[in-house]
């Protein structure tokens, strides 16, 4: 499948001019509020009529203002998950789930199982928690048998524990690789965890569009992600669980020891390492409390406007980002091509940054 979007639209005080193409998998539209990401996803769904543009999903033209084509919303076959759920309050969970899908009970069973909805079926939406309601909303959209799933900040209205409750379900949905997903968010953690392709939006324009792992590891984009949220993704594999509570992972450039990762040995994981949590050393450090030392080669240095420098380190076939001060970079004489050691505290990696997700490439 592929998605091709070309949109022009203006509101008073805001102009959107966006063009991007995305392969199958999970495409995340990332941007801060006011970047135009919601406008884009609504235009793809047909809930908003842009001034001009073209939207093509799987070679099917859904919108072409030149050719005067605009497929009506009900016939676009795009499942839409709204930020606020929008379950039908007068129907039970079961009736909500089957609203678009009346006959195929096998599909219902599969979705109920995937999203853990088994004991909610006879309840009314008013009796669900926010997280449960959002899981039902995702299931309802999936059961409409969509060619693509549109998710408009599905976690934004939930508090942290509810988010943590839903993310594993989203991981499963995304890594199953069945239905392609267009996902809108302003949370870098969700990008890191779910995205295979990333479209960065800023002020109504596409800043960059490309494979998520590549863009996440690009030092130039760190300010756009937010300096405290930026971090590269590593693929790792669970090797063993140690009796002291640490899980040993095999990562490019070395072993990682992280606190209790609840996955079976052999499972592939993607881990986001925040740039601000990485310490660099020119020589292999000894006598440190930090357990994780990855050896790599400096592949890029990017100086921002402030006192910081972002260093990109090639480890194995992948990349790490480290954000250090310019003073340190100069004192250490860092330059591309040098061998360098990245040091990471085990406890720095949050559970939310460890996903069972799809392979990065």
């Amino acid at each position: 499948m592929s998605l091709s979007v070309d949109l022009n639209h203006s509101f008073p005080g805001f102009t959107l001019d966006v063009t991007f193409e995305a392969p199958s998998g999970v495409t995340v539209l990332f941007g801060h509020s006011g970047s135009g990401k919601s406008t884009v996803i609504k235009a793809v769904a047909g809930l908003l009529k842009p001034n001009a543009g073209k939207v093509v999903v799987n070679d099917r033209v859904l919108l072409d203002t030149h050719g005067r084509i605009s497929v009506p919303v009900p016939r676009r076959r795009l499942g839409y998950v709204f930020q606020d759920g929008r379950l039908f309050p007068h129907l039970t969970v079961r009736a909500n789930l089957t609203y678009a899908h009346r006959s195929d009970t096998k599909g219902l069973d599969r979705v109920v199982d995937l999203l853990g909805l088994g004991n909610l079926l006879e309840r009314r939406p008013g009796a669900l928690s926010g997280g449960e309601a959002q899981r039902v909303a995702i299931g309802r959209a999936l059961l409409s048998d969509p060619v693509m799933l549109l998710m408009d900040e599905p976690l934004a209205a939930l508090d942290a524990p509810r988010k943590a409750e839903i993310l594993p379900f989203l991981d499963r949905l995304c890594s199953e690789g069945g239905v392609p997903i267009l996902y809108v968010t302003h949370a870098v953690a969700e990008v890191a965890r779910l995205a295979s392709h990333l479209v960065l939006l800023e002020n109504g324009q596409v800043l960059r569009s490309g494979p998520a792992a590549k863009l996440m590891a690009d030092p130039v984009l760190v300010p756009h992600m937010g300096v405290r949220d930026a971090g590269a993704l590593l693929t790792a594999r669970v090797v063993a669980h140690h009796p002291d509570g640490l899980t040993e992972l095999e990562a490019p450039g070395g072993r990682l020891f992280l606190p209790g990762v609840h996955r079976a040995a052999g499972d592939p994981l993607r881990v986001r390492i925040l740039a601000q949590d990485v310490i660099l050393s020119r020589t292999r450090p000894e006598g440190l409390s930090a357990l994780n030392i990855l050896e790599g080669t400096i592949s890029a240095l990017h100086r921002g406007g402030g006192p910081g420098v972002v260093v990109q380190l090639a480890v194995g076939g992948e990349h790490l980002l480290a954000r250090i001060t310019r003073r340190s970079a100069e004192a250490m004489g860092l330059a591309p091509g040098q061998t360098c050691f990245a040091v990471l505290k085990s406890v720095a990696v949050a559970q939310v940054d460890i996903a069972e997700a799809a392979p990065l490439r």
Binding site: A45, L47, V73, P74, R75, R76, R77, L78, G79, Y80, F82, D84, R86, L87, F88, P89, H90, Y99, A100, R124, P125, G126, A127, R140, A141, S144
Partner: protein, 231 residues
């Protein structure tokens, strides 16, 4: 009915018949107009709103006279109806139903419109993304959510139609057995010596019907709120 004499009973039965026809015939129009006013964005929406509410503000005699001008046997609409369908409304019980329907219309539309406005349009949007046509969205999402409001509107309109006097007597007069509804009968009883007892009994019937209608429509309105909240 031992409580009511034959003349009184005739008036009550006629009023019930008139009010039932008035509500049944105007319900689809009321729902359509309420949907237009609540959801529609078109030029002239305020004018439509004004026309719908006009009978509430105008003296009922004026409404009745306008009906007589339009729907009387020499009126343009009345003549057309008689020549084309053989239907005569002036001085008939069906005419009384028309007058009652028009006088009750603002109340009916208002109750339905309030119910429609409590429904989040986002739910209708969500149904559309799930592949539902406009008709299916209305039948499966909007209508079930507003159903108690629709019933409340119908009940209020029924009570109003039972009690309509000014427009009715102007348009279709006060003919026993044909257009003498409860209010007309009360008026007529008060014109003859010794009619007070009959008038009083009809007053009691009117009060009971009006109170019951108000109570039922209140309960219905509360059920709309509960449904929309998903309990």
């Amino acid at each position: 009915m031992a409580f009511l004499g034959p003349d009184e009973w005739q008036a009550v039965a006629l009023s019930l018949k008139v009010a039932c026809l008035a509500v049944a015939a105007s319900l689809p129009f009321g729902l359509a107009v309420a949907m237009l006013l609540a959801r529609g964005r078109f030029p002239g929406r305020q004018i439509l709103n004004g026309i719908v509410h006009l009978p509430l503000i105008l003296p009922p005699v004026v409404t009745g006279y306008v009906l007589l001008l339009g729907f009387g046997r020499r009126g343009p609409i009345g003549e057309f109806l008689e020549n084309t369908f053989g239907v005569v409304l002036a001085f008939r019980w069906t005419g009384a139903a028309l007058a009652a329907a028009i006088m009750a219309f603002p109340l009916m539309v208002r109750a339905m419109r309030l119910a429609i406005e409590t429904v989040d349009p986002g739910l209708e949007e969500a149904a559309a993304t799930l592949g539902a046509s406009r008709l299916r969205v209305f039948l499966t999402v909007t209508l079930p959510l507003i159903l108690p409001g629709v019933l409340a509107g119908a009940i209020l309109a029924f009570a109003k139609a039972m009690g309509e006097f000014g427009a009715t007597i102007t348009f279709v007069s006060n003919i026993p057995g044909e257009t003498r509804t409860v209010p007309s009968a009360i008026y007529a009883f008060l014109q003859v010596p010794g009619g007070e007892a009959s008038a009083l009994r009809l007053v009691i019937v009117s009060v009971v019907i009006a109170m019951a209608a108000l109570l039922v429509s209140e309960v219905m309105a509360r059920r709309v709120a509960a449904r929309v909240a998903g309990r």
